[in-house]
């Protein structure tokens, strides 16, 4: 347990936190890269997921993709793209986008396909176009589940960005890998604590958003029956 004290001592040093390569900068970089990759993955996964959920076509693909992604070793993707694209930021971003797609796709698909059939029929019968149905009924009702997908993807990506430091000079993983080389255990432990706190905070943040959205959609769907 002595190591915890040393780690806290490392963390209490203001010099560790400041500067271009300090902890704050690394945390910013880490979260920035994570957010960017989830955004890129969403651009690909959401339209596809909503389309599959709306039409019900190709639902098998979603299950197959999430299963395949689980078996695919993250480190394998990182090193593969590291070799193909060089040691810049490109390789980890591509690898992380691939990892994030299945959760986002599953969220969008599950959310949209779970929308009550009677709600869809009602929307159709009051004359909504397909465009309106998707944007004004299906997506708002699916929002909590879609955000659930973002939560899973974001957590996965924040975790995995730690590994990205193996092939690129990016994020909090830097401390872990340079600590491994120089046997600086206090730094490794301190940085590990920061990563753990970061993921738990992110998870909490998303769970709050998700709960708020769920309450809101419940109100939305109750509204007509209550008022008319």
């Amino acid at each position: 347990m002595k190591i915890l004290g040393q780690a806290l001592q490392w963390l209490s040093d203001p010099q560790v936190w400041g500067g271009v390569e300090g902890l704050w900068a690394r945390i910013g970089e880490h979260l920035g890269v994570s957010a960017l990759t989830v955004l890129l993955a969403a651009v690909i996964a959401w339209p596809l997921g909503v389309w599959i959920g709306h039409t019900g076509r190709g639902a098998g693909i979603v299950g197959a993709l999430t299963g395949a992604a689980r078996a695919l070793p993250t480190l394998g993707l990182l090193t593969l793209f590291g070799l193909l694209l060089g040691i810049g930021l490109g390789a980890p971003v591509v690898a992380l986008v691939i990892l994030a797609i299945p959760s986002l796709l599953a969220g969008a698909h599950a959310g949209v396909s779970a929308v009550d059939r009677t709600v869809i029929d009602a929307a159709r019968s009051i004359g909504m176009s397909t465009h309106q149905l998707v944007w004004e009924v299906e997506i708002p009702l699916a929002a909590p589940v879609i955000v659930g997908g973002v939560r899973t993807a974001m957590l996965q990506v924040i975790s995995t960005t730690t590994l990205a430091a193996y092939t690129a000079d990016v994020g909090l993983g830097r401390y872990l890998f340079s600590g491994l080389k120089t046997k600086n255990y206090a730094m490794m432990m301190g940085a590990s604590l920061v990563v753990v706190v970061l993921t738990i905070l992110a998870d909490l943040g998303f769970s709050v958003v998700q709960r708020w959205l769920t309450r809101r959609t419940h109100q939305l769907s109750r509204c007509p029956a209550g008022e008319y």
Partner: protein, 214 residues
């Protein structure tokens, strides 16, 4: 392909090491999650706490966990014990949720009926709860197994050999074929273990077969 043929011996050694690292956590996950999961399903108060705790534990990134475990428990950093402990923690965290779901999915009417015809508590568990929870348990265990097999590769980063060694070594030496072999071998191991679990499930729970046939 030539790379694979030239390095068959190394691949075989790493494959064996990989299996030794990933099988214990899978077994531990099942055995440790069973009592916790049953408790979680039966006591909603404890259940909520256990579910939050296990999902938080699962959110902890793998590399920091691999580094924190030896430092906290005093294992040497590059030891198989580190990898096995870390993956068991993940496996249990993941499995507790599915175990709780599995036992909550057992129809209370069936349990009451069993009690009414005189099943003891032990018999209720072994002859009613466990078989009925079986299919959901199996589904959870398959997820644990596949993700454990692929997570073991990360052990290579702290110097514990397994198929992940092909990834780190291939990257450092710039051998694309070696990295591709590492990825392919890991996926194949995951698929084979998944298939084995499915087969064992069919053997132990033949009634699930009938559902498929219908």
């Amino acid at each position: 392909m030539t790379w694979v043929l030239n390095n068959l011996d190394q691949i075989r050694t790493l494959l064996a090491a990989h299996l030794l690292l990933c099988l214990p956590p899978i077994v531990v996950s099942l055995l440790a999650a069973l009592p916790i999961g049953v408790l979680t399903a039966r006591r909603p108060g404890i259940g909520r706490f256990v579910r939050t705790a296990s999902s938080t534990l699962y959110a902890v990134p793998a590399l920091p966990l691999l580094i924190a475990i030896p430092l906290l428990f005093g294992f040497p950093l590059r030891s198989t014990a580190t990898v096995i402990t870390a993956l068991s923690i993940y496996g249990v965290a993941l499995m507790v949720g599915s175990t709780a779901d599995a036992f909550s999915s057992v129809d209370p009417m069936i349990r009451q009926a069993a009690v009414a015809v005189g099943y003891s508590r032990t018999a209720l568990f072994w002859a009613v709860d466990l078989p009925l929870a079986g299919p959901v348990l199996l589904a959870g265990l398959r997820v644990v197994a596949v993700s454990t097999v692929s997570l073991v590769t990360i052990g290579a980063l702290i110097g514990v050999s397994g198929l992940g060694t092909l990834l780190t070594d291939g990257f450092q030496r710039g051998i694309l074929a070696e990295v591709l072999t590492g990825i392919a071998a890991t996926v194949v191991v995951a698929v084979v273990i998944d298939g084995l679990l499915l087969a064992i499930g069919r053997l132990l729970m033949p009634w699930t077969l009938k559902d498929v046939a219908r």
